[in-house]
Symmetry: C2
Subunit: 410 residues, 2 copies
């Protein structure tokens, strides 16, 4: 799998979407580790804040200020190019050819499931942006003629949360099929996905792009199927308040944990969707940046198929998360209708041996959650806009239940 | 599968891409059968003719003239709207809401594999056009709130031509997997695709769009995985020369059979790629339009998953096709390098019981080929531009062989 004995050498790394929640701490972490880092971003995430009239709880500086602060504190430079990689192909290609990066980390997609379901326009933006962003990157790498390792962030959500009691494998599935001669033959296939939103669907489509370009053009690709990222800061973003990372708690971009933390911090009951029986996979942002560093250090060999890892460290039921936070803060739990078209209860067993075998020592919710409560949610609670917490996207026009046995809301 | 006992009633049908090679005869066939037909097309295929400096061998009239001729001859009216469905979402939605069609047949995609591989720009156009066309249609159907049956044309090419000696099933595959408890469980999954070009890859991505919108919004969808369409005219296009259908023979849009026919008609040797051992699936254009009529007559029920049929009637090795035409015309066969990244020899066994069980009486190459030679290739051979026949797209920058054992060209 990983090329064994790969040395940790200084690399030139482009971070697409390097102004975002995962991209910013990744850029700092890689820069701190001695790599040369170039951020590419079109700042669309900041424009979406304007559209949604929602803001990060933590005060985010303009990117120029962030980069200045990083140079002040560490003496290290990170360069920035404002490019819409879904639209400005020529600028993207020109940048690859002039900079000749060793690796590209690709975060530059619309990543909120509720946002992707808000309206026809939001569905269309998500498909158009995500498909063209990923495809332009692949076409540009081919066109550049360079041997660039592409590390992409996918999502655990493509698996469709739990099938037939199988542990979710790392990307590929061994199946048995019957030949015309009646023989049983073992085959390895891409795990058949069952995405639950337009956003997740684009990540399934990304997999087909990777499979094709890997096969046809021998591009080296690592696809990280990531769980829900929690936690706000990393060793680097804690160095100075100007480097602070995003903390989204609104109904579209705030993941379940952050919305609970916010509600608890300001003394509201935590709103659990449905029975809260949905199991989700989680990873701390500090572990995200370490996993990406590991993925860059261990590219697949040129003849290898796309490497797929599950980038997560633990699973929890949503109601158990609420109880955990209730235990830390004394907040209450309230059960409300689920806007998503999904099964009320599910189990989730995930294989994640690859990162653990590379020495990852995960931060658990048990140890990290208190810091989030006190250092982030409570410290910045004066900036909170409680109107933004409820999830207002519905998955269908009439919100008819998509799964038998599921309770419908109006 | 099919709703049994569905009566053949007059329906309002929109044909997206109704000016194209399959779309035009389908529109006439459905109109002749008594349905109300509305064509939507952006005429991009005619613009690509201009770009490639290639033309249909048969003389194609402007769409306005075609529709006038149809009305002259049959007294039936087909209306036309020029809309780019990949870009003009509002116009598309407005049309659905005002016309309230019962069914939409979706042909409106860039459909040439060599064209999709010509350059980065052609790859990008194909992905952008095909993804947004299909997704806009789905999002518009949801937004309209109407119960519209969507019939889409996919391709046999997504299957990747032959896997492990299995007969290619109709879309879904039964597999056995091992659960955590060690049990073997049967599951039905979307056939894991292995597309061979950017064009084919977009058809695999289409499948994910259909799966999602069918599951989330209960859209009724029939996806027809079509073989290579051969033959030029149908009962309706034969009625008047102004109604004649396209015959493409250029290296990009001309399928293998048409290129052979053209070469034979003008006394050139037929150029077979590689060993000619590739097996392909075929269907006559007359059977295409009948299958589409059958698909429209038998929509899935609202709770059914996407119906997938293999729309093909016979398979042949490429070299056997050349021999067949040599037998009819006395032309020679020449073996040249294969520009595609594919296995030199493959078998192909395809299940197509569904259409046969509905009473389709296929036209075979054996009986239809002579008409193509005399009534089309020879009759219009004075219009042929022999420079356009060779396939000039290569699949990779250096055309390195993508499959072990495959011979490389420079
Ligand atoms: N946050 C999570 O919990 C989580 C979980 C699983 C997977 N992921 C994946 O990780 C990646 C990053 O997620 P995030 O939480 O940092 O999201 P984010 O929205 O905070 O960051 C994405 C960044 O990409 C940029 N971007 C988007 N489209 C672009 C384009 N066309 N051109 C240039 N820049 C563009 C945005 O401006 C933003 O800065 C996403 O692909 C997401 O799907 C995130
Ligand atoms: N011809 C074959 O052998 C074959 C085989 C298998 C599958 N198919 C599928 O059948 C469908 C039709 O194939 P064809 O041979 O008729 O192709 P074609 O190129 O002749 O016709 C496609 C039509 O769609 C129109 N179109 C394309 N993009 C559009 C857009 N964004 N908005 C509006 N109109 C648009 C074009 O102008 C053209 O008239 C394709 O989806 C193709 O993949 C064809």
């Amino acid at each position: 799998m990983f090329l064994s004995g790969t040395k940790q050498t200084r690399k030139k790394i482009m971070v697409m979407g390097g102004d975002g929640f995962c991209g910013w701490p990744t850029s700092l972490h890689l820069s701190n580790a001695g790599h040369e880092v170039i951020i590419v971003d079109n700042l669309s995430r900041r424009e979406i804040d304007v559209e949604l009239e929602a803001e990060s709880l933590t005060p985010i500086q303009p990117l120029g200020k962030r980069l200045e602060a990083w140079e002040d504190i560490t003496g290290k430079t990170i360069r920035f190019h404002r490019i819409n990689i879904a639209e400005q192909f020529d600028a993207l290609l020109h940048l690859l050819v002039t900079e000749q990066p060793d690796a590209i980390v690709h975060f530059a997609e619309q990543r909120s499931a509720p946002y992707s379901m808000k309206s026809a326009a939001h569905k269309r933006y998500t498909v158009d942006n995500n498909m063209n962003a990923t495809h332009n990157l692949l076409a540009a790498v081919v066109e550049s003629g360079l041997d660039i390792h592409l590390v992409h962030l996918g999502t655990m959500g493509v698996y469709g949360y739990g099938t037939a009691g199988m542990a979710i494998p790392e990307g590929y599935l061994d199946v048995e099929v019957t030949t015309e001669a009646g023989e049983r033959v073992e085959q390895q296939i891409l795990y058949p996905t069952n995405p639950g939103s337009v956003y997740h669907m684009t990540k399934s489509q990304d997999q087909l792009l990777f499979q094709f370009y890997n096969k046809n053009d021998r591009i080296r690709i690592t696809d990280l199927h990531q769980g829900i990222v929690w936690g706000t800061n990393t060793e680097e973003t804690k160095l100075d308040e100007r480097l602070i990372n995003r903390f989204d708690y609104d109904g579209d971009y705030g993941t379940v944990l952050n919305r609970f933390l916010m509600q608890a911090a300001v003394g509201y009951p935590m709103t659990v969707h449905g029975t809260g029986g949905q199991t989700r996979a989680f990873i701390h942002i500090q572990d995200t940046v370490r996993c990406i560093e590991l993925a860059i250090a261990h590219p697949p060999s040129p003849d290898e198929k796309v490497l797929i890892f599950n980038q997560m460290t633990e699973t929890h039921r949503v109601r158990d998360l609420a109880e955990m936070i209730a235990g830390l803060t004394g907040a209450e739990v309230a059960y409300v209708d689920n806007p998503r078209n999904e099964a009320a209860e599910n189990d989730l067993h995930v294989k994640n041996e690859l990162f653990l075998s590379k020495g990852l020592q995960p931060i658990t919710l048990n140890e990290g959650l208190l810091t989030e409560v006190t250092k982030v949610a409570e410290e910045y609670s004066h900036r909170a806009d409680m109107d933004k917490i409820p999830a207002r996207s519905t998955w269908t026009r009439s919100h008819k239940p998509g799964i038998p046995g599921e309770k419908a809301s109006k």
